[in-house]
Symmetry: C2
């Protein structure tokens, strides 16, 4: 149950309309909590119904008309409560690792090329994060809030660094693997 809290955080940083939020989720916030516009609109409705946010008054509130929201006191309190509450880290689910384990059973055919592609994507993401770091956190920008936000970005940078390095390692392993001449992969029993 984190989407509402992601939205509350975003709205506290800056009151926005649904579409503006969507744009922000495609950039900064989405780097660690992605959401589609449909999720966002639905959740905005719920948050408004629950009295945590409200639509800023507008001249002509009609369909196709921008509607900006701001956070109410109850919303801020809820976000503070949620942030402070103890939460267990949830077990991870990573498709790439699963595919690699499957490849150990059915063969690596086809996987190699896709991992190379992933290496490219993670490399690009890493560059993008580094760019943001240069832009948003020059030396000296180190108030309490800057430090916390920098910490979040740092996690993104270090994670992408991990992935690029791990994928490089995996790719070099693939290259030194013997050709899978059919039968190389012991045909774990199928009927």
């Amino acid at each position: 149950m984190s989407l509402p809290h992601a939205i509350l955080t975003a709205l506290l940083e800056k009151p926005s309309s649904g579409l503006e939020l969507t744009r922000r989720f495609d950039r900064s916030i989405g780097y660690f909590w992605s959401a589609t516009h449909q999720q966002i609109y639905r959740e905005l409705g719920r948050l408004e119904a629950g009295g945590l946010i409200r639509a800023l008054p507008s001249e002509h509130p009609a369909r196709g008309q921008k509607k900006a929201y701001e956070v109410l006191r109850a919303g801020r309190d809820e976000l503070a409560r949620w942030t402070a509450a103890s939460q267990d880290p949830k077990p991870m689910r990573d498709v790439t690792l699963l595919r690699l384990r499957a490849a150990a059973v059915v063969g690596t055919e086809g996987l190699h090329a896709d991992l190379r592609r992933h290496r490219e994507l993670h490399g690009r993401q890493l560059e993008e994060y580094r760019e943001i770091e240069r832009r948003d956190f020059p030396p000296g920008k180190d108030g309490p809030q800057d430090r916390l936000r920098h910490l979040v970005l740092r996690a993104g940078i270090d994670l992408e660094t991990f992935w690029t390095q791990w994928l490089d390692h995996a790719l070099s392993e693939f290259e030194s693997l013997p050709e899978p001449d059919e039968g190389e992969w012991p045909g774990a029993r199928t009927a």
Copy 2:
């Protein structure tokens, strides 16, 4: 759509009953693809209905009776197809990073202690992985399959290493942060 493929992989490694699978998902497989027993039973039913696996013949197939499954040819083919197919890495969702970003707006109250707890948990997980590495991948065990499986474990080790280091960094930042004397966190507008 990865749970069925996780199950196919597990069953190819070793035919098992639902409960045995559940146990294995609590250990090795669950380290990168977790699943509850309800998910597993449901999916076993679907896979059987789809002709990808079949129940091994049993004397008395009754409720409360172990029922083991094995993978059929179609199941193996499907797993090979899925493994080789190109897949985009999906955007991540990490609650901890989200909480940290929220804390930059509503204050760090309470978060510190929970991050310390997470540091402990990740540290323990890291130790467990290292233990497995010592046990399952002694020097010399480096056939193609061992190499691939070791690669997966390596990812787990490196990820937990990242988290412990990042959390250590975060915790030290928290300690050097000024006391949040109410108002330290600019009260981003609430109505």
